[in-house]
């Protein structure tokens, strides 16, 4: 950990904070002191205003019956109708359940594996090997879900796929793993791990590259073993990165990704495969029902925001650096 002034610790309110009265002047003084930094901020602020905030004006279509031809202004106002329709859907609990289970698998299995892989890579001394393996594990990231799913179909083809034959040998029965509802989540998880674990290590490797080497040297002199060094130096050093990634992940909980699940779902496993993203695709996008899909997107975003701010607050409660 190289942070010297790790300033965003919660818990202890700044004791030096003065009473309210002299604030405006101090504030102005701060503006003057930071003027050049504020100027540097301008392009970014302009960007967020133009491309991130301005389009949100269009999000009002969630409360309208938006017809592109009539324009946003000209479309009929329907209030909360689309939201009511979404939440009163009889399938809602099932969609929520399926979404959360897949998100939990990704958060509690795939995410830790990413860190483990990064740590293992970090321990490799032969730099040629390290670089080669690093490059190799990034490859799956570049293959589209279409390719990944067709490779899965090849490997798990009933009776003929190498992996399905192997599993059949273990269980003694012939199963169509691609259609079995019990196998849907394991397969999705397997694909996610295969495709994204390697790519996910990038951030952690960047953080690991920044760990002060002298700490290791000092630890070696103190007689610390490899495991102790990992536990006492490496992990604390990348802890802020882990926490930030974790917070950002929780905001994505309801976004399971559409393409992978859509391509992996079929008539026989749909009871466990239906998630918000596929639902929105079928009811909204495929039908050109933009108001409805925007309403669903808005609902999901609110949940995501609550989760991000919540975990961020929690992180600070436990004396960790949050994302802001």
């Amino acid at each position: 950990m190289t942070a010297v002034v790790d300033v965003e610790q919660a818990g202890a309110p700044a004791p030096a904070a003065p009473p309210v009265a002299p604030r405006p002047r101090r504030r102005w003084a701060r503006v003057v002191r930071f003027r050049w930094l504020l100027v540097m901020l301008l392009p970014g602020i302009l960007y967020f205003l133009l491309f991130r905030i301005w389009p949100m004006w269009g999000a009002q279509i969630a409360f309208k019956n938006y017809v592109p031809f009539l324009g946003i202004q000209g479309s009929e106002w329907v209030g909360w109708e689309h939201f009511a329709e979404f939440f009163s859907n009889p399938d809602f609990p099932r969609l929520l359940g399926n979404t959360l289970i897949l998100a939990a698998l990704s958060l509690f299995v795939a995410f830790p594996l990413t860190i483990v892989l990064a740590l293992l890579l970090n321990e490799v001394r032969l730099s040629v090997l390290k670089r080669t393996v690093q490059t190799l594990v990034y490859i799956p990231h570049f293959l589209s879900w279409t390719v990944v799913v067709s490779l899965t179909a090849l490997l798990f083809a009933i009776g003929t796929g190498p992996l399905s034959s192997f599993l059949d040998g273990l269980t003694g029965t012939e199963t169509n793993y691609l259609a079995d509802p019990d196998w849907f989540r394991p397969l999705i998880l397997l694909q996610t791990i295969w495709k994204s674990t390697g790519w996910g290590t990038i951030i952690f490797l960047a953080a690991l590259a920044s760990v002060d080497q002298e700490q290791y040297e000092a630890a070696v002199i103190d007689g610390a073993g490899r495991w102790q060094r990992t536990w006492h130096i490496t992990l604390p050093a990348i802890r802020p990165t882990i926490i930030v990634m974790l917070i950002l992940q929780t905001g994505e909980i309801l976004n399971t990704g559409f393409e992978q699940i859509y391509l992996m779902s079929n008539a026989l496993n749909r009871t466990v495969a239906d998630v918000f993203d596929t639902y929105v695709y079928f009811t909204g996008i495929q039908q050109g029902a933009y108001s409805y899909s925007t309403a669903v997107g808005l609902s999901k975003a609110i949940v995501g925001l609550v989760l991000i701010f919540g975990t961020n607050w929690l992180a600070k409660r436990f004396n960790q650096q949050g994302i802001f």
């Binding site: 031809f69 009776g159 039908q287 050109g288």
Partner: protein
């Protein structure tokens, strides 16, 4: 990273952004006439299915512009992303003069009902545009929105469903081509159990069925069997009332037949997951399965693959059998007869004079000469004419692919297909071609059309995809044994309660109005 370069670049970016923001006022006038004056070019938005779209200076485009009397300004969009692009284009103000609309989606119907597209019903009926007068009024009606024709439909073969069977397997087992569903079951059984390839191994099955999109009435093997059993086609007219085909007893009977095929092992085990777009031919060609229920062109595709393997014997492998009789009568499953239509947005074509100008151009683009350009290409360049057939130059195959994958997409052919068909390479190919034509004529007589094709129910527009999915999934779950008959009934009850009853009521109301 040369950090010294970063800052100026960033400033440049921001600067140009600000400039762009200032200068955005004046632009926005599309290709069409902003006011009421005559059009000097015709912008058309269309999907393409070839690997790449035609180049801007494409020869076919130049020739078609001459025929149309207006410069064609083509906006090609990849087929897979056509829907997204359509919705964005409708939201902007740079709308083309003519748009290919692929399906009656909620977005399109709402726009049309809000007055976003010209109602062409009377113009097409006037006879002023002879090439746009349909040869098949039923299909034009089916392409309409509750009787209003908002586009010139793109005609397709009405009869396409057929059974393709391994001819040599039938011969090895001394079987005849099936003529009804019972015989089809017997052939499937024999192909599975009686070693049709004579290799002494139990390594074959009867029918090859791929996974199908979660919808009903889309020409799947299941849909075909259900129609053969007399369950109608999506909707069934029973005493002047429309009922969903899956509520008929014939539908259940057909499902039990499908269940028997699956449960007896006469179908590939991965019927619920096999990728049909890439994997349907493979088991047939490699001697694993011997029956495919699909479109007729599947037979030609398969014959072509056998030819690659062994040109000497390939004519012994594929037999084409049309729609077969079921226990309740003899029915054939037709296609909708069209694949989307060319609609004319009012935002770009604002006056009736402009509309007439566009219709005149579309009329010319449906003439015989235009059809040949759109479907065959440039005569003397990529093909030559031999009698009634086109002979394509193999060395210009890439160009031919672009023509059939792109320019053919703006062809309507509503007055009949007048371009050349490709010349069959061998006698057997010609035979297959003739058999197709014969079967089309024969099956057309017993085709069961969807009586609700033209009707657009409001509830179906918003919930239809999900409603269809309930039934399509229940069908597969039932035949796989995952649910029993009470489960199937529960799914139909769920369909009814979650909007299906409303759809039925709305459809019947519209049905009554249209007579």
């Amino acid at each position: 990273m040369r950090t010294r370069r970063l800052a100026p670049l960033a400033l440049l970016a921001v600067g140009s952004l600000a400039l762009a923001a200032c200068s955005s006022g004046g632009s926005g006038d599309g290709g069409g006439g902003g006011g009421g004056e005559a059009l000097d070019s015709l912008s058309i938005m269309a999907p393409y299915l070839s690997a790449t779209p035609p180049e801007a200076d494409d020869k076919v485009g130049t020739e078609l512009s001459k025929i149309a009397g207006l410069d064609l300004d083509m906006q090609w969009v990849p087929n897979a992303e056509y829907g997204d692009r359509t919705n964005v284009v409708l939201a902007g103000d740079d709308i083309p003069d003519v748009m290919v609309i692929q399906q009656k989606s909620q977005g399109f119907v709402q726009t049309a009902e809000a007055g976003g597209f010209w109602d062409l019903t009377d113009y097409l009926a006037s006879g002023d545009y002879p090439n746009l007068v349909t040869e098949n009024p039923d299909v034009q009606q089916a392409s309409s929105v509750n009787g209003k024709v908002f586009g010139v439909y793109r005609a397709r073969d009405v009869v396409r469903t057929s059974i393709t069977i391994r001819k040599d397997w039938l011969k090895n087992l001394g079987l005849d081509e099936p003529t009804n569903t019972d015989e089809l079951m017997k052939v499937a059984k024999a192909f599975t159990e009686d070693d049709p390839d004579g290799n002494g191994k139990d390594d074959t099955y009867g029918m090859i069925i791929p996974a199908w999109g979660a919808s009903i009435g889309t020409g799947s093997p299941y849909d075909a069997i259900e129609t053969w059993f007399g369950a109608g086609n999506v909707w069934k007219d029973e005493g002047g009332k429309l009922v969903p085909s899956f509520t008929t007893p014939e539908w259940k009977q057909a499902l039990d037949y499908e269940k028997e095929l699956i449960q007896s092992g006469y179908v590939n085990k991965d019927y619920a997951t096999m990728d049909g777009t890439t994997g349907w031919n493979e088991p047939f060609v490699n001697g694993k399965g011997g029956i495919i229920i699909d479109v007729q062109s599947r037979a030609s595709q398969l014959a072509e693959l056998f030819k690659e393997q062994d040109p000497k014997t390939y004519d012994q492998k594929v037999a084409l059998v049309g729609n077969i009789a079921g226990p309740n009568g003899d029915f054939a499953l037709p296609t909708p007869g069209y694949s989307g239509f060319l609609a004319i947005p009012k935002a770009s074509v604002q006056t009736e004079d402009q509309l007439k100008q566009v219709l005149t151009a579309l009329d010319k683009l449906s003439s015989k000469d235009a059809q040949i350009l759109e479907n065959n290409g440039i005569e003397g360049d990529n093909f030559t004419v031999d009698g009634d057939h086109a002979v394509f130059d193999k060395s210009k195959q890439d160009f031919t692919d672009v023509v059939s994958g792109s320019w053919a997409q703006i062809g309507t052919n509503v007055g009949g297909f007048e371009a050349y068909k490709p010349k069959p390479e061998t006698e057997y190919d010609a035979e297959l071609e003739k058999e197709r034509a014969d079967l089309q004529a024969k099956d057309l007589k017993k085709a069961v059309f969807n009586p609700g094709a033209a009707l657009v129910s409001k509830t179906y527009m918003s919930n239809g995809v999900q409603l269809d999915q309930v039934i399509a999934d229940a069908r597969i779950q039932y035949i796989s044994g995952q649910i029993d008959e009470s489960g199937l009934d529960a799914a139909i009850a769920q369909w009814k309660s979650s909007g299906g009853d409303a759809v039925t009521a709305e459809m019947n109301e519209l049905y009554g109005q249209l007579g």
